[in-house]
Symmetry: D2
Subunit: 433 residues, 4 copies
Amino acid sequence: MSLAEAAIKETPDTFHAKEWLRRYQRVRAATEAICAPLCKEDYMVQSMPDVSPPKWHIAHVSWFFEAFVLKPFHPAYQPLDPAYDHLFNSYYVTHGTPFPRPDRGMISRPTVEDVYRYRAHIDRAMAELLNDPPQEHLEEILRRLELGLPHEQQHQELLFMDIKHILAQNPLCPSYRDDLVPPPEQEVGELGWHLYPAGVRSIGHDEAEKGFAYDNEMGRHRQYVEAFQIADRPVTNGEFLEFIRAGGYDKPDYWLSDGWATVKAEGWRAPLYWVERDGVWHHFTLRGLVPVDMNAPVCHVSFFEADAYAQWVGARLPTEAEWETVAREVPMQGNFVEQDHLQPVASMQSTSAPGQMFGDVWEWTGSAYRPYPGFRTLSGSLGEYNGKFMSGQMVLRGGCCATPADHIRVTYRNFFPPHARWAFSGIRLAKES
Amino acid sequence: MSLAEAAIKETPDTFHAKEWLRRYQRVRAATEAICAPLCKEDYMVQSMPDVSPPKWHIAHVSWFFEAFVLKPFHPAYQPLDPAYDHLFNSYYVTHGTPFPRPDRGMISRPTVEDVYRYRAHIDRAMAELLNDPPQEHLEEILRRLELGLPHEQQHQELLFMDIKHILAQNPLCPSYRDDLVPPPEQEVGELGWHLYPAGVRSIGHDEAEKGFAYDNEMGRHRQYVEAFQIADRPVTNGEFLEFIRAGGYDKPDYWLSDGWATVKAEGWRAPLYWVERDGVWHHFTLRGLVPVDMNAPVCHVSFFEADAYAQWVGARLPTEAEWETVAREVPMQGNFVEQDHLQPVASMQSTSAPGQMFGDVWEWTGSAYRPYPGFRTLSGSLGEYNGKFMSGQMVLRGGCCATPADHIRVTYRNFFPPHARWAFSGIRLAKES
Amino acid sequence: MSLAEAAIKETPDTFHAKEWLRRYQRVRAATEAICAPLCKEDYMVQSMPDVSPPKWHIAHVSWFFEAFVLKPFHPAYQPLDPAYDHLFNSYYVTHGTPFPRPDRGMISRPTVEDVYRYRAHIDRAMAELLNDPPQEHLEEILRRLELGLPHEQQHQELLFMDIKHILAQNPLCPSYRDDLVPPPEQEVGELGWHLYPAGVRSIGHDEAEKGFAYDNEMGRHRQYVEAFQIADRPVTNGEFLEFIRAGGYDKPDYWLSDGWATVKAEGWRAPLYWVERDGVWHHFTLRGLVPVDMNAPVCHVSFFEADAYAQWVGARLPTEAEWETVAREVPMQGNFVEQDHLQPVASMQSTSAPGQMFGDVWEWTGSAYRPYPGFRTLSGSLGEYNGKFMSGQMVLRGGCCATPADHIRVTYRNFFPPHARWAFSGIRLAKES
Amino acid sequence: MSLAEAAIKETPDTFHAKEWLRRYQRVRAATEAICAPLCKEDYMVQSMPDVSPPKWHIAHVSWFFEAFVLKPFHPAYQPLDPAYDHLFNSYYVTHGTPFPRPDRGMISRPTVEDVYRYRAHIDRAMAELLNDPPQEHLEEILRRLELGLPHEQQHQELLFMDIKHILAQNPLCPSYRDDLVPPPEQEVGELGWHLYPAGVRSIGHDEAEKGFAYDNEMGRHRQYVEAFQIADRPVTNGEFLEFIRAGGYDKPDYWLSDGWATVKAEGWRAPLYWVERDGVWHHFTLRGLVPVDMNAPVCHVSFFEADAYAQWVGARLPTEAEWETVAREVPMQGNFVEQDHLQPVASMQSTSAPGQMFGDVWEWTGSAYRPYPGFRTLSGSLGEYNGKFMSGQMVLRGGCCATPADHIRVTYRNFFPPHARWAFSGIRLAKES
């Protein structure tokens, strides 16, 4: 069959499937590029229960396509190894018994090479499927791809977080990459404020609009947002250092009760990765140990630290609805993974609108992670995606320096427990009008 | 001086102070009445870190008046024992160093008798102060009384919770009182629903209105509440038993992730205090071990259980704002401590409005305990009252069978961690319209 | 019947039983005398899992006679309350299910008064039994009494240890008794040494000899003991203070690996109950907080501390066999409970023999607690007495200031885990010849 | 220079040093051969805190020679990387601060390749040193080599234990080697007994004799050993299975108290690595999962299990002195690492003497690991070798199927905590005569 004949045969649907295949391949390639600088030994480490060994990430995101796309819809699909289903499932408890999370670093085999062979096996099968998709299932296949690709992108960001945490355990402070784009030298000015009037706002993803969103963004609904002010940039390292110097970690006055207990139990004295060397504050970054840039946004702080800092300066954290109100009106650009800094950087302020709402650091909000009105979990294993984590966590917004630009949305709801610090998380202040 | 002469001498302020003294004495007497059935040994037990020994409660509520009223404002006040300040402080970390909470059961002296002597000492001094109050401080004194009395009422409810938990440790299942008012025999009908339209609602305590409220109810503000339905009564023991029989505690499907982990770690199979004897479910109550009344509201369930039950029946828990919207329109009456059941009881349903919104069981809402817009903590130690607990907890509404009727309000926000079960907590369902 | 007639009727056996009854009553009275200074609240506290509330001790030692003497041999015996069997059993796992040890402080009822009523009930029944014993069981009854009385005496010593630990939790440092016999003011001289030649020694209780011994002392056997030297008195507080001042708690060099880990984990800086006040070392004693007497034997040190001290001075702890070799030749007298100091005291040294081998402090030996050759556990519940604790513990010898003088023997083997410090335990040094 | 000339030049000392170099190279090569079947990922796993990643072993044994031989005595030695001293120290707390043991699996770099480069660097320097040794230090150098080579051999055995434990975590049950020598098919007969008369025995290493021994074997001394009997072979899997079937893991009667608590806490139902598949007991071995050979010695049992089994059959474990008394009279041969089974195997019994005293399984004795009379720790870091572990551990004797034949001695004292099961440990019975 000639190319021309093939083109003629191609239906719009098939064309669409091929478009998705290209997208799939781009996302998959990005994951592998992230891991390229790793040695095999790095792939094995689980530096804390929340961290997964990179080998596991690499396999798990492939498993997702095997379990939810290939097995149900590829008629001739043969698994490479039936044991992988158990090993690389994560938390989908309704889908078999997942391997215990804290023991992921115990499994040396399949080896890294095996796991890449598994990836390639999945990729070949996905290409087969999407090049010649079963028409009756195509819609469902694409729906699952539409979830599987952001799922892999989330793991890309987790990979950066986990790799950083893994390398940070090493007293030799090895760098992940020496060729990262160096941060700009940029002075930032005084923190300014922008005022927003009271009113009913529509919050959440509009299902009428085009574009993907997670289930937890669904259920667009109205919220009455009282008038408020929001800071024109994130809190900087320099500002946070004043809090440290003022004894912020020594006095319970500004802390939530659970936060203060955590400070005491963990011996926190500064953000994660900060270390004083000869009187100068350094922090561990993906390019190694470097002096802290006082103009860059403070990063790797917990919700507890963000809240205590806000109390100390007489402000508070914005609610989700406030944040979304502001973010709707600013352009969605910033320091994302494509900038290749892999750390938050200082930025010039503008007077017209709050800056750095997207990228740099995930911004802790004052909102607990709970379902929107009308939230419904998907049925089956895919329904476990988000809903079951809706207790004990706080919402963060806006993406960070390790987020792919096409992964983030105004309505995107990230979430971590209030003590978590290994995400690229920072502080945006708000206050009453 | 004749009574008439005295009446003439009495200024409105002094009269007001005396009125408060009577109120003080009523509340104080109620605390002592709660403890009357205890033996000295009961006063000493701390059955888990969250529980305090009754002796500590008895002393701590007195300490509150000593620390915040007598020491600052009674010019001639002499403490009975200076060491008590350290022993009976609770969590006011800015006010000295509190004695470690989990060790409260370790302190045998002062004895129960000593502690009652301390109470009497405080009561005498309070009577002196309020019978002849320093005019320049009267307003502040009364403001603190206005906080101190509800504080003691909260501890009255905690005393019931803690006494129940303490006696429940004992394999002999001793009853607290044998003369409680027996629950009525009442069949309840099918669960019905009431519909509420969408609209902007005012939520929180109106400071313009008369009457006391805690700081966490302040900051009356507008919320847009989408249309919803609410159940006409709490979920019953009989209904919850169906969930148990359907394997509710065996399958992760309906549970939040943290909830399922807790079920596994704690081996939960039924609400707290439930035990099967010869094939019949009994539960431990303040009048001993009795068969479960299938018509009464289920009680001593955690937020996790409430949420899982709601998922299982295809409903959800109401938000705080929904609950308050409904509660504003129903009369504030119910099965409170004055009914002297000390357990939730079945009640006849009405078709006109949701029943049992107040009393019987605290109703778990789906709202995390966070500050209202404009929330400000009071300055100093009193500012620690509520704000610092605003992480990791869920809001409950409406009071219970152990709450004094004059302690509850439509805007009252109670809160417990999602795994807590020793409060008299139950389930009210909601759903989309 | 006249007394003379009664004397005539009395058989030797009956007379013997009555003699045992008097002995029983003396031991029982001693237990109650120990508790006389307690208030009811003291009876309830379990200050750590190893400590039992005094109420439990009081009941448990009675339970022993009920379970092992009255129920099997008193034909008309009626238990006061059948539930007590479960509550006051200790570790006799083959005899029903014992109530969990760490929860003993959770049980407020039976009350202290109830428990004394239980004691009196047992005492009456024991008097009935021993005044008119069933001849066919008399031998077995007396055999069990012979175990039950030392059992109660062991609990007398535990009561002192536990009461001290309970009161020490209290920041008010309450004294147990203010009328204890004050320690003598006595200067002690330089530590001297006594030499013992090598030879085969007979170790353990000689069953041919008269007198009771525990099962763990049985199996008299030969041991070859190489020549050694032993110190002429225990190590004093003053000598131990030099170890502290020399940084003994700061450097791992002298410590066993487990010992050093315990020092770090527990933050040990001095013996238990020591506290520095205004630059002077005090310790908590049963008569309250007093300055440390530098001439008295150091007390409340763990095996780890005893061993580290010995390493530091270039000596070692004696083995059991060495200790017994020495102790056989010295008179069995010392500072026991009858001296009513209830703390170790300084004593004049003699040149003829090692002093203070008995009383004052239990002396840690370098021997792990293991069975003697030929050790056999008794069958049934009574067989659980000692044998099952023969792992992870070290032997101590000689009794202490809280031991009844008629409870101790040359062959007596006490044992505690190497980290335990709440016994009256001290240090005797040995070294090679 | 011709070979003859060289031979002439060679002093006895230099010749001696070269002989040691060859011995060094043989031991070093054996370590590398053990690791040859591993993939890089295997090298990274720390499957429990007691296990070290193979990469760490490989580096640590090299570090020993660097720290104790090369740095002090090789005049021109240059470390490959100064950071390694900290990373690969183990427990020599007086020699810098060792890297925390449970975190050894967290360090991905230096990589496996780096660590082999480090090994080669050490080996080259050792060859330089021993080919041209500084005469004034030669004696001390050889003394340290004499300790360093058995040290590395101990780690060889640990490598087998750890590799087995690491692979056993993997649900895929990967085998370490498929080419191991298969165990012989051998029926064993009834357990027989050998009687030894009472008498004074000399125990421990005779320093007058030639040959190396550890410090803990030193202090040859006399012990009086009462008459005893010892079993003619270890307990078999088949015999142990009878204990399991008789409910051995269900009843506390035969267990030490700490042992029973461990059974309950860990859920033990059989020896480590045993698993039932379709009604047949299998165990994980270094050649994968295979059915249990009922004639082979039971292995991977803790001291607690060994002791409970012995109680159950009415016997006991031998003491160290009994074991040594027997072992002195039997030839030192058995199933060692050279047999290349890497698991205990059945063996034909002889009537003349107890069999399998050496090799197959380490035999738990009833003796706690304590110093011999006159034990002295070496000064400095090397003194930490053995002495500081002398609490909380039990002695094992005789070597196992993973021990190099030239590493074991009659006087060799191995030791593990009583709950440890990952060593190749088994059971030899003894009883009174």
